[in-house]
């Protein structure tokens, strides 16, 4: 038993089970109002119903599509702008202050503007996810190039390497390290953008369902949706982790 408890994941699982047990017990004993804090069994029931009835799939699809499109576009644009900013001082002069400003303010305040400009469909959600991700990726790529190990640059130059070889052998791999470091944050931001965008104005998606649950005071549905979002973000985190291990195998082998 003691040997089994040496495993951190088992201790974490036991702590979670204990927390859920206490929560369930408190609700059944009438210590908490199930209207505000429904017990785990009720939340689980709502979650199962959503999946079994199949009513969740169109909403999941909408949120996933917006998040993934925003993520891909944000990574692409952030990388291009980061490279341009790091390599061309005139571009950096224009871009860096804008990015610092965008990074400093909570970018979700742009959500209503995107709805006005792009409507309540997919585009406004993708735009919000895009802005959230692009700023993170810009700084990852920009810093990756600026912080590149100068000794490696000098080494490749003295071996006879030109600009192309430097880019391929030093700059791009250095940037990949930084990008993979920011990837988990970017995945979280992509989902934030999609869900907040749907929450502000939408006709489907997890954010729309959350807004519906809030307006009908359905705490069980709200919690079920929060768990669903956490579950899928964790899944994407694991995928990003696998990608990181593959791309940076020199670090993990």
């Amino acid at each position: 038993m003691r040997q089994a408890l040496d495993r951190p994941w088992l201790r974490q699982l036991l702590a979670l089970a204990l927390f859920l047990g206490l929560w369930e017990g408190a609700a059944r004993a009438g210590l908490v109002n199930p209207f505000f804090l429904p017990p785990p069994s009720q939340v689980g029931g709502v979650l199962l119903t959503l999946v079994a009835e199949g009513s969740i799939w169109p909403h999941l699809y909408a949120t996933f599509l917006a998040a993934l499109l925003g993520l891909a576009a944000g990574i692409g644009a952030g990388a291009v702008l980061g490279f341009a900013g790091a390599l061309l001082p005139c571009v950096a002069e224009l871009l860096v202050p804008v990015m610092i400003l965008l990074n400093a303010v909570p970018r979700v305040i742009l959500a209503p503007l995107f709805v006005i400009w792009l409507g309540i469909d997919l585009e406004s959600k993708v735009a919000l996810a895009f802005v959230l991700v692009a700023v993170v990726m810009f700084f990852a790529v920009y810093s990756g190039i600026k912080e590149v190990d100068k000794r490696l640059v000098e080494r490749v130059r003295t071996l006879g390497g030109g600009r192309w070889l430097l880019l391929r052998e030093v700059y791009v791999p250095s940037v990949v390290v930084w990008v993979m470091g920011g990837m988990k944050v970017a995945v979280g931001f992509a989902f934030t953008g999609a869900v907040v965008g749907e929450f502000v104005a939408s006709s489907r998606g997890l954010g729309y369902l959350l807004s519906f649950a809030q307006s009908t005071y359905n705490a069980a549905l709200s919690l079920a949706l929060v768990i669903l979002v956490i579950g899928f973000v964790l899944l994407l985190f694991a995928t990003a982790g696998l990608l990181e291990r593959r791309l940076l195998r020199w670090k993990y082998r």
């Binding site: 000794r151 000098e154 071996l159 006879g160 020199w250 670090k251």
Partner: protein, 257 residues
């Protein structure tokens, strides 16, 4: 092979070298020693073309692409295996990928690294990484090899082995080498000629010494050669005068008296 004539160099308002001149003959091992901050590494950077002098001439018989450079820091690409790192310079010079890989493998074997070719730098010891860095430079078959304290960061045993191996390679391949070092004994046992730089700022060459120890050399036996002791003593005396501090042995004798 290499003639450095009256090189003057400053970093901003700080003068480093003034009129420094050295000559490296083909097939010879030449060392550059001097007090800390005398500009030894700076002179090497001028020769490498990484630093532009204010005055003076660098007359290199070979092209810049025929110069191999070995720094104190091995600076291997951490995301490339030992073989890929060695092949990097060959690929930079247009070698086909497969051919560069085979050549790299052969150099790694010569450096005693057979079986380590697929390891990443972080999976190698300090000495093994240094061997990869040497293989990377020698694979380009340089006409002139410039080295800036390449083994300074290694422990004594690894350093001794690597220096002996390098000495063997230099003698077998009749390489032309210019080494910057602060280690006077190392300079003597490896070199045919040793240049001593004066104390900076505005350092120049104070003295040039010929090392009459025959080749091929063994690091330990070279130290036992009759010419070694007097030459080391002379170098040490001249260096101490440059630094402006009393020679420790002389100081001890003075205190005893």
């Amino acid at each position: 092979m290499l003639r450095v004539s009256r090189v003057t160099l400053s970093y901003g308002d700080e003068p480093v070298l003034e009129g420094a001149s050295i000559k490296v003959e083909a097939g010879q091992f030449t060392s550059l020693v001097g007090p800390s901050g005398s500009g030894k590494s700076s002179l090497l950077r001028v020769i490498m073309g990484l630093q532009r002098p204010e005055a003076g001439l660098i007359d290199l018989a070979a092209g810049r692409e025929e110069v191999g450079i070995l720094f104190q820091d091995d600076a291997l690409l951490p995301w490339r295996t030992a073989r890929e790192n060695v092949a990097l310079g060959l690929r930079a010079r247009g070698a086909e990928k497969r051919k560069a890989g085979e050549e790299a493998l052969s150099w790694l074997r010569r450096m005693g690294l057979a079986g380590f070719e697929d390891r990443y730098p972080r999976e190698l010891s300090g000495g093994q990484r240094k061997r990869v860095a040497i293989a990377q430079v020698l694979a380009l078959r340089p006409s002139l090899l410039l080295m800036d304290e390449p083994f300074a960061s290694l422990d004594a045993i690894v350093r001794h082995r690597l220096t002996q191996d390098l000495l063997g390679l230099v003698e077998r391949e009749r390489l032309t080498v210019l080494l910057v070092t602060h280690d006077l004994e190392e300079a003597i046992v490896l070199s045919d000629t040793v240049y001593l730089l004066s104390q900076g700022p505005r350092a120049s060459v104070r003295e040039c010494y010929h090392v009459p120890i025959p080749r091929p050399r063994d690091l330990l036996q070279a130290r036992a050669h009759p010419a070694f002791g007097p030459l080391l003593s002379r170098l040490w005396q001249d260096l101490s005068e440059e630094v402006g501090e009393p020679e420790p042995a002389a100081e001890l004798l003075r205190q005893e008296a």
